[in-house]
Subunit: 110 residues, 2 copies
Amino acid sequence: MQADQVIRALGALAQEHRLATYRLLVQAGADGMAAGALAEALGLPASSMSFHLAQLSHAGLVTQRRQSRSIIYAADYAAMGALMGYLTENCCGGASCAPAATPADERNVA
Amino acid sequence: MQADQVIRALGALAQEHRLATYRLLVQAGADGMAAGALAEALGLPASSMSFHLAQLSHAGLVTQRRQSRSIIYAADYAAMGALMGYLTENCCGGASCAPAATPADERNVA
DNA sequence: TCGATATTTCCATACTTATCGAATCATTGG
DNA sequence: CCAATGATTCGATAAGTATGGAAATATCGA
């Protein structure tokens, strides 16, 4: 993974609504979720949702496929894996960057 | 780690000069590097470097200590570990997000 | 074909971020 | 105390990002 791509991916996730979107898509798994469903779940107007999905898509973090009238978005785990790989290789001192488990009472606190 | 903090950390790294800065600091290890040394290494004016270091600092990714006239910055591995932990927990489907090793010929390509 | 539905694109606006010179602050050596 | 050094803060400017309504585009069912 190129630094350029890494920056796009990090930037895509560095926004409240997009991070929330990505987390929803991870939960949804391979089935993914329609743009409208995401918009409703997050309480965003359609045009805003579309804007954020475009950013995630441009960063390569999500895939999209049309299903009838809906466009279904799904998390692209390979991209996330590549991002994690880059961070592990380049941004961790080999030191304590082993992804320490988050204490249960801090987990999933939106 | 709170979503709020995660967003600041991701945002801090999602910038060319700051990602480069952080990587230099990781390489430098516990000794860290002075603001001026970083500025020179990256070819940035002092005020720009200071701006970026403030962002990294505010995100909690680096520590700073004064040593005589210099201010020495160092990577905070614990923060990076917490970030990795959050991503692993919340953004990886348990699936293939295991930080796959980057192929040798793509490694460290700035 | 037409109307309804799902989504995107367009546009204007507000907000945030990046840049860098100049001014300022802190520390040290003489 | 003063000049020099290392760094931050200030201020102006340019560039990029977020927001959301309105218009345009695609798809489906009748």
